[in-house]
C-alpha cells in the first residue's frame, strides 16, 4: 500500500507540475497568441468567456502573478478551459469530452495490445536465440524507425481507397449517429482497424526488443538453471520462470515510455482524420486555437498519468517484493 500511495503522491505532483507549466508557457514566452483571436471574435463572445481566456493566458497584466495563478487553478478545477476558436463557441472541455473516448479506445487498446504482442514475441525471440525471430529484428527495427504518421499515409495508399474494406478517414460512417448499436459499433471498429494496425506495427518492435534482451539476461540467472535441473517442462521454465521475471522490468519500462508512445500515436489520428484528441490538436495548431491546444495537452498528460498508475498497480501485482514493503 505504501508503494501505491507514494506513486499516487508522485502523480499528483506531476499533474500539478504539468498544469503549472501550462500556466507559465503563455506567460513566459514572448508573443501574445490570444489577443488577436479575441479581437477577431469580438462581439460574439460574452464578457465571461473573454475573462476566462484572460485568466488562462495571462492577459490581465494588472493582477499579480500569484493571484493569476490562483485564478487559473480555480478555473482548471471548474473544468473551464476556455472557448475553442476552431469550433467557436463550443467550450474546450466539451470538445475534449467528445474526442477523448475515441482516443482512449484507439490508442489505449492498441498500445496495450502492442505491448502484449511485442512481449510475447520477445519471450520467444529471447528464449530461442538464433531462431528465425532473430532475423525478424532488423525488419521490426526499420518499421519502428518510420514515423507513425508516414506509415499511416502508406497504409492508406496501399490498403484504403475506393471500394476497399478499410475506410481511409474518420471514426465512423458519416451518416451514422453515435449510439450503442451494432451498426455504429461495427462501423467504428472498421474505421479503427487501419489506424490500429499502423500503431501496432510501428510500436511493437520496441517491446519485442526490450523483452528479448530481458529474457537473454534472465536466462543466465541461477533460478533458471534450477528450473531446468528440476526437470520442469520447457514451457514451464520459459513462461513461469524466465518470462515471468523478465516481464517485471518491461512493465516498468512500459509505464515510463507511455509519454513517448502516446505522443507519437496521437499523430496517427491526424492522418486518418480520426475524431480523437490528436486530431483536435492538429486542428488547433492549424487554426492557432491556443485554448484547445492547452486543453489537449492537459488531458493527454492526465490520461498518461492515470495509465501510469494502472501500470504501477500491475507491477505491484506482479512483484511480491514491492507488495511486502506495504
Amino acid at each position: 500500500m505504501k508503494f501505491l500511495l507514494q506513486r499516487l503522491a508522485f502523480y499528483l505532483f506531476t499533474a500539478w507540475a504539468a498544469i503549472t507549466i501550462n500556466f507559465f508557457i503563455p506567460r513566459l514566452i514572448p508573443g501574445d497568441p490570444v489577443t488577436s483571436l479575441i479581437n477577431k471574435f469580438q462581439g460574439q463572445m460574452s464578457t465571461e468567456a473573454i475573462n476566462s481566456l484572460y485568466v488562462l493566458f495571462g492577459l490581465d497584466k494588472d493582477a499579480s502573478m500569484w493571484s493569476q495563478y490562483i485564478d487559473y487553478w480555480g478555473q482548471v478545477f471548474r473544468g473551464d478551459l476556455g472557448l475553442s476558436f476552431t469550433f467557436f463557441p463550443t467550450p474546450v472541455s466539451e470538445i475534449l469530452g467528445q474526442s477523448l473516448p475515441w482516443t482512449i479506445a484507439l490508442v489505449g487498446i492498441t498500445t496495450f495490445a502492442s505491448f502484449m504482442i511485442g512481449t510475447g514475441l520477445g519471450v520467444l525471440a529471447g528464449w530461442r536465440r538464433g531462431s528465425w525471430l532473430d532475423g525478424l529484428l532488423p525488419v521490426t527495427t526499420f518499421l519502428s524507425s518510420i514515423p507513425y504518421f508516414w506509415l499511416g499515409l502508406i497504409a492508406i495508399t496501399l490498403l484504403a481507397g475506393q471500394g476497399s474494406f478499410f475506410p481511409s478517414s474518420g471514426g465512423y460512417e458519416p451518416g451514422l449517429v453515435p449510439a450503442w448499436d451494432s451498426e455504429f459499433i461495427g462501423s467504428a471498429v472498421r474505421h479503427s482497424l487501419l489506424p490500429a494496425i499502423t500503431i501496432l506495427i510501428s510500436s511493437v518492435s520496441g517491446w519485442i526488443l526490450s523483452m528479448r534482451n530481458m529474457m537473454v539476461t534472465v536466462a543466465s540467472e541461477d533460478y533458471i538453471t534450477v528450473a531446468h535441473a528440476k526437470g520442469l517442462s520447457e514451457r514451464r521454465v520459459m513462461l513461469s520462470y524466465a518470462a515471468r521475471n523478465a516481464l517485471l522490468p518491461n512493465v516498468s519500462g512500459f509505464a515510463l515510455s507511455l509519454g513517448f508512445i502516446v505522443g507519437g500515436t496521437l499523430l496517427v489520428e491526424i492522418v486518418f482524420s480520426y475524431p480523437g484528441i490528436g486530431y483536435n490538436l492538429f486542428q488547433a495548431v492549424g487554426a492557432k486555437d491556443y485554448p484547445l491546444m492547452q486543453g489537449v495537452f492537459l488531458v493527454i498528460t492526465i490520461s498518461v498519468l492515470v495509465a501510469n498508475l494502472i501500470a504501477d498497480v500491475a507491477y505491484l501485482l506482479l512483484d511480491p517484493r514491492t507488495r511486502k514493503e506495504g
Partner: protein, 334 residues
C-alpha cells in the same frame, strides 16, 4: 565399498567450438558409490563446478560435452548413459534421480514465486499422478525435515533468511528422494554457525534418506569432516583421490597438500597455514606436462614435459587411492 551409483568415465567438457574451444574438464574418471559422500575440491577454475554441471548437462552455452560417458545405476534396473538421454528422458531423470543444491540460495529460488509453488511444481512435473493435497503433504513433510515450519510454505523467498532459503533448497532437492544429490558450495554464502547447522542436518538427512552426495567445495577442511572420499581437481583433471582421513593425514599430491594448508582445520591438529603460491592456470594456455608444475615446490624436469597418469601410487600400494604425480613413490604401479 558399495556398488557404484554414478560412474563418470573419460569425461571432457569444452567451452566453445572448433578452434576457440577451451577444455575445462579433461579425461575425468570418477565413481560415486551408493550411500557415499564424495567430496570434490579445488580452487576456483579447477573445473569442479564445470564437472558437476556437465554431468547433469546443465552447462550454459558455450559449454559442450566433448567426450566421455556418465553411467547412472538406477536401483534394481539396468544402468544407462546420461549423456545419451533424449531431452524428455533427461527431464524425467533430473531431480527424480539427481538433484542439485546450488551455490547461493539467494538466486536459486525464483523471487516472484512462493516457496510452495516452487516445491509443488517439481512434484507435479515428476509425479503427475499425485493428487494436489498429497503433493502439499509431501512438500510440508520435507520442509519439516529440514526444519522449516509448514506455515512458511506461502512465504516468498525474500521473506526468508539466507539460512532458511538454503534449507528450503535442500528440502526441495530431497523432495523426490533422489539417489544422488549434487551440492555445489551449498554453505559458502552462509555464516559459520549456519554452515555447521546445515551440515549437521545434512548428515542426519543422509542417514535417514540414504542418498549419495557429490559435494563440491573449495574448502577442503569441510570435506575432511563431511566426506567419505575426496577427489582433488586441478586444471580440469583429477590429481588425487583418497579416503578423506587418508588424504588429510597423508596427502600425496603437492597440490592437495597446498590446499590443506590453505584452510584452518575445524577440528584436529593445527597446521601451519601457508597457502599455494601463484594462481590457477589459464584454461587457454595450460602449462605443458603437469598443469601444477609452475606452482609446485617439488617440480623437476619430467613435470614440465609429461602429463602424469592418475593411478595407484607405488609407495602406498592401496587400491583405494590414486594420484597423478611424478614424484618418487607416487608414480602408479605398472
Amino acid at each position: 565399498m558399495k556398488a557404484p551409483v554414478l560412474e563418470i568415465r573419460d569425461f571432457n567438457v569444452d567451452y566453445g567450438l572448433g578452434d576457440q574451444a577451451v577444455r575445462a574438464v579433461r579425461d575425468v574418471t570418477l565413481t560415486l558409490h551408493r550411500g557415499e559422500v564424495l567430496g570434490l575440491a579445488g580452487e576456483s577454475g579447477s573445473g569442479k563446478s564445470t564437472l558437476a554441471y556437465g554431468v547433469t548437462r546443465l552447462l550454459p552455452p558455450p559449454g559442450v560435452i566433448s567426450g566421455g560417458s556418465v553411467i547412472y545405476h538406477p536401483p534394481g534396473d539396468q544402468p544407462y548413459d546420461v549423456m545419451g538421454l533424449a531431452d524428455a528422458e533427461l527431464r524425467a531423470f533430473r531431480w527424480a534421480e539427481t538433484s542439485i543444491v546450488f551455490q547461493g540460495a539467494m538466486n536459486s529460488l525464483n523471487p516472484v514465486h512462493k516457496v510452495s509453488t516452487q516445491m509443488l511444481d517439481v512434484i507435479r512435473a515428476h509425479e503427475p499422478q499425485l493428487t494436489p493435497p498429497a503433493r502439499v503433504a509431501r512438500a510440508k513433510e520435507m520442509l519439516k525435515l529440514v526444519g522449516i515450519s509448514a506455515d512458511r510454505m506461502d512465504a516468498y523467498p525474500h521473506q526468508l533468511s539466507g539460512g532458511m532459503r538454503q534449507r528450503v533448497m535442500i528440502g526441495m532437492a530431497l523432495v523426490l528422494e533422489p539417489q544422488i544429490v549434487i551440492m555445489d558450495e551449498p554453505t559458502t554464502a552462509l555464516d559459520v554457525v549456519m554452515q555447521r547447522q546445515i551440515l549437521a542436518q545434512l548428515v542426519e538427512l543422509r542417514e535417514r534418506l540414504d542418498f549419495s552426495v557429490l559435494f563440491i567445495t573449495h574448502d577442503l577442511s569441510l570435506l575432511v569432516e563431511f566426506a567419505d572420499r575426496i577427489a582433488i581437481m586441478y586444471g580440469g583433471r583429477i590429481v588425487e583421490e583418497a579416503r578423506s582421513a587418508e588424504l588429510y593425514k597423508d596427502s600425496l599430491h603437492p597440490y592437495s597438500e597446498g590446499l590443506l594448508r590453505s584452510f584452518p582445520a575445524l577440528r584436529g591438529p593445527r597446521r601451519e597455514l601457508s597457502g599455494i603460491p601463484g594462481s590457477p592456470p589459464d584454461l587457454r594456455g595450460m602449462p605443458s606436462g603437469c598443469a601444477f608444475h609452475p606452482r609446485c615446490p617439488h617440480a623437476f624436469d619430467r613435470c614440465s614435459t609429461e602429463i602424469p597418469v592418475l593411478g595407484v601410487p607405488a609407495a602406498r600400494n592401496d587400491p583405494n587411492r590414486s594420484v597423478a604425480c611424478w614424484l618418487p613413490g607416487r608414480v602408479p604401479v605398472a
